[in-house]
């Protein structure tokens, strides 16, 4: 049974809630229409279809699009060796998704990371705290509207941050066969 068969089995169970499957370079992805039912889909995928391993759970910020955020669940089954990707859109207004840490305990820290970096909350999470930045840090650094250099913050006796000097921009590389001066400019302007 291939990943596409598994995806079709999931599709039969949930019907219009799922769209796809889309296959790209041998990887199969399904899109979940309603973010509030993603935990239900995950539970069925684990219990009935044998996806016993949550490889990764990550957030994507499609800044400027509506809905703005997207959650990506990478599923794998050790019994059958199939890999399946679930995607679900999360709107900026709600900014909340149900936790799947009840399905896979591995989701606990992944969801804390998404919460820390993107600001998406997970309903029903047992311990939704920041995992990398400290409690009280006011920003979500991996959002696209957060500047690369950071913003100044101050929490007395806890932590502080200052913007980093970028000297005109981040270091970038342009692929191609041109000279190293062209391939590795000090900074790339956003107009070009």
């Amino acid at each position: 049974m291939t990943a596409a068969d598994k995806a079709n089995a999931l599709r039969e169970k949930f019907g219009d809630l799922l769209s796809g499957p889309v296959e790209f370079r041998g990887e199969v992805a399904l899109t979940v229409a309603d973010v509030n039912r993603v935990a239900e889909v995950c539970e069925y995928a684990k219990k009935e279809l044998g996806f016993d391993y949550l490889v990764d759970l990550s957030g994507v910020d499609n800044y400027g699009d509506d809905p703005r955020f997207e959650l990506v669940y990478e599923l794998y089954g050790y019994g059958h060796g199939c890999h399946l990707r679930l995607k679900v859109a999360v709107s900026e207004e709600a900014c909340e998704a149900p936790s799947v840490s009840g399905v896979w305990r591995a989701a606990d820290w992944h969801e804390r990371e998404v919460y820390d970096m993107m600001g998406i909350r997970f309903a029903g999470h047992p311990d939704l705290r920041r995992i990398l930045m400290w409690e009280g840090y006011p920003h979500y650094p991996l959002r696209k509207d957060f500047p690369l250099a950071g913003k100044p913050t101050e929490m007395p006796d806890v932590a502080f941050t200052n913007p980093a000097p970028l000297e005109g921009g981040p270091f970038v590389t342009n692929p191609g066969a041109c000279s190293s001066d062209k391939r590795e400019p000090r900074a790339k302007s956003f107009e070009s």
Binding site: A149, D157, F160, A164
Partner: protein, 168 residues
Amino acid sequence: MQTTQEIGYNTKVEGDVTVTRVDAALNWFRKNSLWPMPMGLACCAIELMAAGASRFDISRFGSEVMRFSPRQSDLMIVAGTVTYKMALAVKRIYDQMPDPKWVIAMGACASTGGMYRSYAVLQGVDNILPVDVYIAGCPPRPEALLDALIKMQGKVAKEDVFSTSNAD
């Protein structure tokens, strides 16, 4: 029978007495037994360990006594990337070290933030601590650390021992 005559210092002539200044003597004691506090935060700490091991052997310069308690050390070697989350812990450990105390910023990250121009990384540990010697490199080789240690000793040797703190 020809005898060799030692020119210069001779304990038999001087009568086992050495004359020096108090600050020169104290600085000589201090500089030859700097006890490091290994503040290992990233890959530079691996080179710091190599400097302590037999091939490079930091004990040749009197600094082999790596203390993992700040209360027993007088030289903090900040080896690695200081994140903002770690910055105040580094500061607190430094504050717990007894005077006189010195700081070596080992490597690009500890000196300037290095390649981490980002929201998460302190852009140089000299934002929170008075650094005496900076070491270039990413990471610096153990020889560079030993060179910094010798420079540190040269600085300690010239200090005024009657000042209570070198933090100014």
